[in-house]
C-alpha cells in the first residue's frame, strides 16, 4: 500500500516536471517583437495591458506601436521614401499610397481554405472587392457581418431636428425638405429664445475644414441615395455619374436655404464658425436642426444628456424632395476596402503573423477582444451577455481602456461583426439590452409616441447595395489629373455654396449660374465620365 502510494506520488511529481515542458515543446516559437505602424492617433497601451499580455502568452508576440501625430500624407511620403516599414502596417485613409508603393506583401500566399479556414471564410464573400489585381494586401478591419447586422440608430447622415420641436407640433411625420423648414420656421417664431434666454438658431451648417460635408452632401440624399461621396450615380441610366452640386436638382435645396436665410432661420455666423463653436451651439440646446452625421456631433449629444436636456437632443429624419422619392439614407455595411493591417515587405515572419490572425478569428479570441474576460468585463445571464454599471463605465473610461483592452490593435484587426451564433451582438455597443439601458426615459417616451423602439425605425431598412458601392472608396491616387479636378471642385463648392445661401434676395439666380459655370469649367465633365467608366468596370468585376 505504502509503496503504491509512493509510486503514485513519484509519478505525479514526474508529471509536474514534465507537463510544463510539453507546451513549450509544442510551441517551439521564440518570443518576437513585432513593430506596428498605424496611421491614426492612438494612445500607447500601458505596459501591463491585460490583453496584450495574453497575446504575448499565447503567441509569443510583443507589439511595438508607432502612431500618427502629424499630417497623414506627409508621414506616409516619408515612410515610403525611406522604405522603412514596420512589420505590420496600416495606412488608414491613405493606405492606397502604401499599396501603390509596393510596401505590402500579397497575403493570398498564406491565406488558403486549407491553411487558414477562418480567414478564408471571413473574407471569401468579398474577395473580388478587396483584392487588387488578384492580390490581397490589406485585411479589412470592418464590414464583415455575421448573421444579423444590428441597427439601433442612424449613425450616419440625416437631417436632424430637436425632439422638443417635433413634440411641440404633436409628433408629426416629417418627410420632405419643405415640411422640415416649415416646421422649423413656425417653431422659431413661437420660441425666439430658449428657456435659458439664449437666442434660438434655426438651422446650422458646418463648413469647418473637412467637416464641410454638412454643406456639400445633402442633395444626394434628397434625391433618394445613400452616401456615395460627391457624386450621384444614375443606377438605371448606365450608371451615368453626376457631380450633383451644380445640377438643376441641387438648386431647389440651396434656394430653400437662401429663402430661410432671409427669413432669419439661419445665422450668418454658421457659415464661418469653427467646429468648437458649432459644438458649443449644439450643446447649449438652442439649435433646432442641422444636416450632419451622428458621430460628428456625438460630443454635443453627450453634453446635452449630461445636462439632462433630453428634449434638446436630436432625432434623425430621412428627408427627400418630395414624397414620391424613396429615401435611402441607410446603407448596408460595406467591407472596408484597404483599411486594416497589411504585412510589409520588411517583415521576417509573415506566416507566423497570418497564423496569429487566423487564430484570433476564433470565437474565444473575438469575444476577448470585443467584450473582454467573462466575470471581469461582462457577465452572462440566460445566455445573454450583459454588463454591470461598473463594467459599463469602465468601457467608457479612456484610462481603463488603455490598460484593459487592445484597442489600438483590434481597431485595425480583422473582426466579426453583427450577431454571434448564440444571438448576442459581437459589438457590445449594439447589444440591445445595453443600448436600451442607456436610453433616457424621455427618449423612450418620445419614440413610443411614434410607435417605435429605436431611432433607426424612422429610416427605411437598407436595401442591398449596388455592386460598385460606394463611390468614395474608389482610389484616385493613380490619376493625378482627376485628383486635381476633384480638389478644385471641392474648393469651388466650399466657396460658392455659402455665397449662394447668403446671396441677397433676387441675386440668387445669378450667383447660382456663376457657380454652375465655374464648376463646369473646372472639369466636371471629365470627372463624371471618368467615374462612370470606373464604376462600370467595378460593376463588372464585382457582380
Amino acid at each position: 500500500m505504502k509503496r503504491r502510494l509512493l509510486r503514485t506520488l513519484a509519478f505525479l511529481l514526474l508529471l509536474a516536471f514534465v507537463f510544463p515542458m510539453i507546451p513549450h515543446a509544442a510551441r517551439a516559437e521564440e518570443p518576437i517583437v513585432v513593430s506596428v505602424f498605424i496611421a491614426d492617433a492612438f494612445d500607447q497601451p500601458t505596459s501591463d495591458n491585460k490583453i496584450y499580455k495574453l497575446i504575448e502568452e499565447e503567441f509569443g508576440i510583443k507589439f511595438e506601436f508607432e502612431f500618427l501625430a502629424g499630417d497623414l500624407d506627409e508621414t506616409l511620403g516619408i515612410k515610403i521614401a525611406g522604405q522603412d516599414y514596420a512589420d505590420l502596417i496600416c495606412g488608414s485613409n491613405s493606405a492606397e499610397k502604401l499599396i501603390d508603393a509596393g510596401a505590402h506583401i500579397d497575403l493570398l500566399e498564406y491565406i488558403t481554405p486549407e491553411k487558414t479556414p477562418n480567414l478564408w471564410a471571413h473574407y471569401e464573400p468579398h474577395l473580388k472587392r478587396i483584392t487588387v489585381d488578384g492580390a490581397l494586401y490589406v485585411l479589412p478591419n470592418y464590414g464583415r457581418i455575421y448573421n444579423d447586422p444590428i441597427v439601433n440608430y442612424a449613425n450616419g447622415p440625416a437631417f436632424w431636428i430637436q425632439k422638443k420641436v417635433l413634440a411641440w407640433d404633436n409628433y408629426p411625420m416629417i418627410k420632405t425638405v419643405d415640411q422640415y423648414f416649415d416646421l422649423l420656421l413656425r417653431y422659431k417664431e413661437a420660441h425666439p429664445t430658449t428657456e435659458d434666454g439664449l437666442p434660438t438658431s434655426g438651422f446650422e451648417i458646418l463648413t469647418d475644414g473637412w467637416r464641410n460635408f454638412c454643406l456639400l452632401n445633402p442633395v444626394q440624399h434628397l434625391m433618394g441615395r445613400p452616401n456615395d461621396g460627391g457624386v450621384f450615380v444614375h443606377w438605371d441610366d448606365n450608371y451615368k455619374v453626376d457631380v450633383f452640386h451644380n445640377k438643376p436638382y441641387a438648386k431647389p435645396y440651396y434656394q430653400k436655404l437662401n429663402e430661410v436665410f432671409h427669413k432669419g432661420l439661419i445665422d450668418q455666423d454658421t457659415l464661418v464658425q469653427n467646429f468648437d463653436q458649432y459644438l458649443a451651439k449644439l450643446s447649449s440646446g438652442r439649435v433646432l436642426g442641422m444636416f450632419d452625421q451622428y458621430w460628428n456631433f456625438q460630443n454635443a449629444t453627450d453634453s446635452l444628456n449630461a445636462q439632462k436636456k433630453f428634449e434638446d437632443t436630436y432625432i434623425g429624419l430621412p428627408l427627400v424632395y418630395d414624397e414620391s422619392t424613396k429615401e435611402q439614407y441607410l446603407d448596408q455595411p460595406i467591407i472596408n476596402v484597404n483599411r486594416g493591417f497589411g504585412i510589409s515587405v520588411n517583415c521576417e515572419y509573415p506566416e507566423r503573423l497570418v497564423n496569429m490572425f487566423e487564430r484570433m478569428l476564433d470565437d474565444d479570441w473575438q469575444i476577448l477582444f470585443h467584450w473582454g474576460i467573462e466575470g471581469e468585463d461582462y457577465y452572462v445571464e440566460n445566455g445573454r451577455f450583459l454588463r454591470t454599471d461598473e463594467q459599463k463605465s469602465n468601457a467608457e473610461n479612456a484610462v481603463w481602456v488603455n490598460a484593459n483592452k487592445a484597442k489600438q490593435f483590434f481597431y485595425n484587426a480583422p473582426k466579426k461583426e453583427g450577431t454571434m451564433d448564440n444571438g448576442n451582438s459581437w459589438d457590445p455597443g449594439l447589444q440591445p439590452e445595453l443600448y436600451f439601458e442607456l436610453m433616457s426615459d424621455y427618449d423612450k417616451e418620445f419614440l413610443s409616441k411614434y410607435n417605435m423602439k429605436t431611432p433607426a425605425e424612422f429610416f427605411r431598412p437598407a436595401p442591398p447595395n449596388q455592386p460598385y458601392y460606394a463611390a468614395w472608396q474608389i482610389d484616385l491616387n493613380p490619376f493625378p489629373d482627376i485628383q486635381d479636378i476633384n480638389t478644385h471642385m471641392t474648393d469651388i463648392q466650399a466657396r460658392d455654396l455659402p455665397r449662394a445661401i447668403m446671396a441677397p434676395a433676387g441675386e440668387f439666380d445669378s450667383v447660382w449660374d456663376a457657380f454652375v459655370a465655374e464648376l463646369d469649367n473646372a472639369g466636371v465633365k471629365e470627372f463624371e465620365e471618368f467615374m462612370q467608366k470606373i464604376i462600370l468596370e467595378l460593376n463588372d468585376k464585382l457582380s
Binding site: 464641410n212 464661418v272 469653427n274 466657396r495
Partner: protein
Amino acid sequence: MNAQRYKPKQASLGHRLWQQRQLLFMSVPMLLYILLFSYAPLWGWLTAFMDYKPAKPMFDNAWVGLANFRWLFSRAEFMLAIRNTFMMSIITLVFNTVSAITLAVLLNEITARKFKRTVQTVTYLPHFLSWVIVVGLAQNMFATDGIVNAVLLRLGLIQSPLFFLGEGRYFWWLVGLIHIWKEAGWNSIIYLSAMSSIDPALYEAAEMDGAGRFKRIWHITLPGIKSTFVVLLVMNIGMLIGGQGDGNFDIPYLMGQNLLMDWSQTIDIFVLKYGISKGQYGRATAAGIFKSVVAIVLLFSANRIAKRLDEPTLL
C-alpha cells in the same frame, strides 16, 4: 606737422589666412556643418523636374522638365495665392514691427522695475498658446454677436454688427491683428535687449540739454535700435513669400477655408492641397524652388537698398 600714416603692404592670402587662423577655427567647422545639413539635401530640388514618386529610387523617375512649374503658373488659384501671401505678409510685417517697437519703446520708458518685468512677462505669454487656441478665441471675439461688435455698437461707431469673419475685405486685417495679439510681446524682446546696450549717459546728457521725453526717444532710443530694426526688416522682407511658423499658414488655414477662400488661400496652403496631400512631390518642390528664388531676390534687393541708404546691411 605732416603726419603720414605708414600703410603696410597688403599681406599675401596665405599670410592673412594664417593670421586669422583663430577666426577660421571658430567658423569653418560651422560652415562645414551648415553645408552638410542645409545644402547637401538640395539634391532634392531635382525632383521638381521629375514626376517624382518616393517609392522609386531617385533616378528611376521620369523627367518632365518644366512641366511642374508650368502647371503651377497655369492655375489661377496659385496666382491668387501669391497675391494673398504677399498681402498678408506685408500687413503682418508692418503690424508686427510697429507694434513690437512701440511696445519696446513704451516699456523702456517705464522705470518701475517690477512693473516693467511684470508687463514683459504677461505680454509675451500668448506666444505660448497654439494658433488653434488663439484663432478659436479670435473667432469668438469677432463673431456677429461677439465682443468686438458689442463694443463698437456700444460706442456708437457702427449701426449694426459687422460680419468680420465672412467678408473678404476684413480678412487680411484680421490676420494682422491676431498676429499682434499673439506675438507683439514676444517680438518686442529683441528690441528690448537691443535697447539695453544704449549708453545711459546719452540719456542723461540729453536731459541736461533740455531734451523732452519724445526728443530723447527720437534721438537716442530709436537710433539705438536702428541696426536691429534694419537687419530684422531685411530678413523679414526676404520672408514675404512665406516663412516658417509665422502664422501666415495657420491663421488662413484655420479661419479661411470657406467662402473667403479667394482671400485666404496662401501658397503654402495651395501646395499642401495640390502637392503633398496628393503625393505630388515634384509639384511641391517646384513651388518651394519658386519661393526660394523670390525670397532671395527680395532679400538681396532689400539689402542693396539698405546699403544705398547707408544703413547697416545684412550681407
